[in-house]
Amino acid sequence: MHASLPDADTLIRQLADAIAPTLTPDTLIVGIHTGGAWVAERLHALLQSTTPLGTLDISFYRDDFSRIGLHPQVKPSNLPFDLENRDILLVDDVLHSGRTVRAAMNELFDYGRPASIRLAVLVDRNDHELPIRPDFAGLTITVPDNQNINLSRLDDGHLTLSLA
């Protein structure tokens, strides 16, 4: 099934090209754990951003906590900057329902009041449950509800997309 999805590294380069003209020098890039943080790390390098890279674990903000409980491996969020009045580029791997992005925005606002937040995703599944749309998407694709699109990282650091 791998063959049906484009190469992740190619998509990330295209995403970086689309973002580059809009990026100001003090834009802060924040990736959502775990896949979004990998993509954010690549974008941060490709865009030669000089601001520190941020990562966000949204486990404490999920709307399904009372049903499924705490994720067993919660990682600390790491936002090594003051985001008051800053422009944020929020990065995730796959946008599906929009619930993760909602949770991420709620968390960001508990750190301060950003001037703006834009959303970049590697894959937009185009099947949203909330009024949340990406500003930048590497790929827009419609797949059946019972299928998952996963981003994984190989031992050599290479990122691959798979459909299962």
Binding site: F60, R67, I68, P72, V74, Y111
Partner: protein
């Protein structure tokens, strides 16, 4: 059957560390680590327990433990009600389960229980509806699991891991529920050498069976230790003449800079509080560079947040 675990091995009450597997202790410590930064942020709250009601049931007085549980619950966005029951209906003769049933009828989701009788939290846990969790905040001489966990969190933060450590627990082990919880936690987490140091009259018989080495003098007991945990001399629990005097106790077992010098130079000093300065610990040590007594208090909030979050969440797969 451990009453603290569900059939699929998930934590549903926290009553004592005894009987909890290492994986659960590690999960609590790891989760606490994630909560550490919440206290540093602009908004010191996460929405995890929004809409949940947590009752602090304190049948025995406490300031620090009750306060840190309250702060932890509030940082998780829960609603917290504090009840100091010695001053309330218990004095009117209301049975403990009637109190609990009344609070459950007010839609309680969690009880945090401190009681002077060992087993009180277990008793409540056995008799509440399945959706209600109980946390033992100290019962008699039996257990004080969140104190034990925050001590483990403190050790891990300052020493990295547990596998090469020598840890000494000093003082009134006989009356100490904290010491019992610490010993269970240290041995479960793989600390190779756990020592207890104190006068014979304050050492429970058969304590060696818990996997500790017993010492009756500070010099040999502290030699080579990485962590020194001082216990509060339980004046209020001391019935009968177990000790000649507190001055005499300080002379032999009080932690002074001279006695601390027997431990490793980078040893840390811990105390669960409240301290009796000049009885079990000298002020020069309590306020000195090796003391991590105040960080323990701060870490207690993150550890209690972790326990509450793990208990209140749905069934983790």
């Amino acid at each position: 059957m451990n009453p603290q675990l569900t059939e699929d091995g998930r934590l549903c009450h926290l009553l004592s560390i005894d009987g909890l597997p290492r994986a659960i202790l590690t999960q609590i410590l790891d989760t606490a680590e994630s909560f550490m930064d919440v206290g540093e942020r602009e908004v010191k709250k996460v929405p995890l327990l929004r809409g949940k009601s947590i009752f602090n049931l304190f049948f025995e007085p406490s300031t620090r433990t009750r306060t840190t549980f309250e702060i932890a619950a509030k940082r998780l966005s829960a609603d917290v009600v504090n009840l100091n029951i010695s001053t309330s209906s218990q004095t009117k003769g209301e049975a403990i389960l009637d109190t609990v049933d009344n609070l459950a009828a007010m839609h309680a989701d969690m009880f945090i229980v401190r009681h002077s009788q060992s087993g009180a939290a277990h008793f409540i846990a056995r008799n509440v509806a399945p959706h209600i969790s109980v946390i033992n905040a100290g019962d008699g001489r039996h257990a004080h699991p969140t104190q034990g966990l925050l001590d483990m969190f403190t050790i891990r933060r300052f020493k990295g891991d547990f596998h090469n450590l020598t840890v000494a627990i000093v003082g009134d082990v006989l009356h100490s529920r904290v010491a019992r919880s610490q010993i269970h936690a240290l041995t479960t987490l793989g600390v190779p050498e756990v020592r207890v140091i104190g006068p014979k009259t304050l050492m429970p018989t058969g304590v060696e069976q818990m996997g500790v080495k017993v010492f009756h003098d500070m010099e040999t007991g502290l030699r080579g230790c990485d962590v020194v945990i001082m216990l509060r001399l339980q004046n209020e629990r001391m019935k009968g003449a177990l000790l000649p005097s507190t001055q005499e106790y300080f002379k032999f077992f009080g932690l002074t800079p001279e006695k601390l010098a027997f431990a490793k130079p980078d040893a840390i000093v811990m105390h669960p509080g409240p301290m009796n300065r000049g009885v079990e610990i000298a002020s020069e040590v309590a306020d000195g560079p090796q003391s991590v007594i105040l960080p323990q208090v701060t870490y207690g909030i993150a550890v209690r947040m972790a326990v509450m979050a793990l208990l209140a969440g749905g069934t983790t797969t």
